[in-house]
């Protein structure tokens, strides 16, 4: 489909409110957003946040997420360990929620964002709608990984019964929260206009 884009017309569209400006304007006169023409420089930010997210994702899985003390006996659980524990106690549904939010969604997100960033500029692509949908799914679903951090917070706040039972957060809680935040920033830095425009066309 050959639709006329703002860039082709020598203009720049505001990515926040949609208003169109001449390319010599630097800020949108209506919403104040910074105006930028479509270019692949933004991909550097995507990759920087992506790597930061991955770096923090590794300790998040290796270190303990929860430290449970029951009658003087301490037990440390990692993210995967917590999900397995739930499964063993026959809480299958909740085990799947935890597994999905803490393992499947983050890994799926790393793959999806990397795929989007790598395929930018692939001129053989047929239309961009599936790629935009992929980005929208990542944006929508990525925040849900934060569930496990909240679970740890609620458990640690609530289960303070002294010797009987107490729960404390482990260091993985912080690195997991940072990993989720960084991957959210990575997806947000991706300019969807690049899906259609590509890198090659921009250099013309």
């Amino acid at each position: 489909m050959n639709a006329l884009t703002a860039t082709d017309a020598g203009l720049v569209g505001c990515t926040r409110c949609g208003l169109v400006w001449h390319q010599d304007e630097s800020h949108c006169g209506r919403c104040g957003a910074h105006l930028h023409v479509v270019n692949s420089h933004g991909l550097q930010a995507v990759w920087a946040w992506w790597i930061a997210g991955l770096v923090f994702y590794i300790p998040a899985n290796l270190l303990p997420m929860l430290v449970t003390t029951t009658l003087g006996h301490a037990q440390k659980n990692t993210i995967v360990g917590g999900a397995i524990e739930l499964w063993k106690h026959h809480n299958y549904g909740v085990a799947l929620i935890v597994f999905g939010a803490s393992i499947m969604i983050p890994i799926g997100k790393f793959i999806a964002v990397a795929y989007l960033a790598i395929t930018v500029g692939n001129e053989n692509r047929r239309g961009g709608a599936p790629h935009l949908h992929m980005l929208e799914v990542v944006e929508f679903i990525g925040r849900w990984s934060m569930i496990d951090v909240f679970v740890v917070a609620i458990l640690s706040a609530l289960v303070q019964l002294g010797f009987v039972a107490s729960i404390h957060p482990g260091p993985a809680a912080a690195s997991f929260a940072l990993s989720v935040a960084f991957t959210m920033l990575s997806a947000q830095s991706f300019d969807p206009r690049l899906i259609w425009r590509g890198i090659n066309r921009e250099k013309r």
């Binding site: 884009t5 203009l11 951090v149 909240f150 917070a153 289960v159 002294g162």
Partner: protein, 211 residues
């Protein structure tokens, strides 16, 4: 470069560039409730609705009251072997407050309490004069921009699902009872969902831009 050349002095206010894919559209007056989608990627560009601003203000106001209630009332109570412990939402965030996890406590409190409240307040500030047909207050553009930018970081609804998971985890260990703040939070989730699906951003920006 292809396409028509736009002169430096030409009026561009009748055009919309799709924020997602950059395709140019002419902004036409739509009938009430009609939706305009981008011809290439299908993103909703315009969706004017009669009375929508007032609805959003009403929802935001309800949301803010629920949120304030949710902070001050007990959230969950746990009991085991004669011992019991109550926690408010504030207490949940403060679970991380000792040692190197302290910044996380701040982040959690921001995501589940501060950002939702701020977004409600900024929406009311932006839309109240517009709903009454008056020009926007000063800095309304900044306020609404923050509403949009902070949206992914306001995580009240995710927090509620987290609560459900936590309750199942405690299940075998102790008895848990739900406080009024828990129910306030549940209603809040519905209010947020309704509010978000009520009006297109373009319609709000257009109203802010009208002097």
């Amino acid at each position: 470069m292809t396409g028509p050349v736009f002169q430096q002095d030409q009026d561009l206010s009748g055009l919309i560039a799709c924020p997602r894919c950059d395709v140019l559209h002419r902004a036409e007056e739509l009938a009430d409730g009609q939706r305009a989608r981008c011809a290439r990627c299908g993103t909703v560009l315009m969706w004017p609705r009669e009375g929508a601003f007032l609805h959003v203000v009403a929802f935001s106001f309800t949301g803010m009251i629920l949120m304030i209630g949710a902070i001050f009332f007990p959230f969950l109570e746990i009991a085991a072997r004669g011992l019991s412990h109550k926690s408010s939402i504030f207490g949940v965030a403060m679970a991380f407050s000792d040692g190197f996890l302290a910044p996380l406590a701040f982040a959690v409190l921001t995501m589940i309490v501060a950002l939702p409240i701020f977004r409600f307040a900024a929406l009311i500030y932006t839309l109240w004069p517009l709903a009454n047909g008056r020009p926007a207050y000063r800095h309304a553009a900044t306020a609404f921009r923050l509403v949009q930018e902070l949206q992914p970081w306001a995580m009240a609804e995710i927090f509620i699902i987290g609560t459900a998971v936590a309750l199942v985890k405690i299940g075998g260990l102790a008895t848990v009872s739900l406080g009024p703040a828990f129910w306030a939070f549940c209603v809040l989730i519905i209010v947020i969902a309704l509010k978000n699906s009520f009006v297109s951003d373009w319609t709000i920006w257009k109203a802010i831009g009208q002097k």
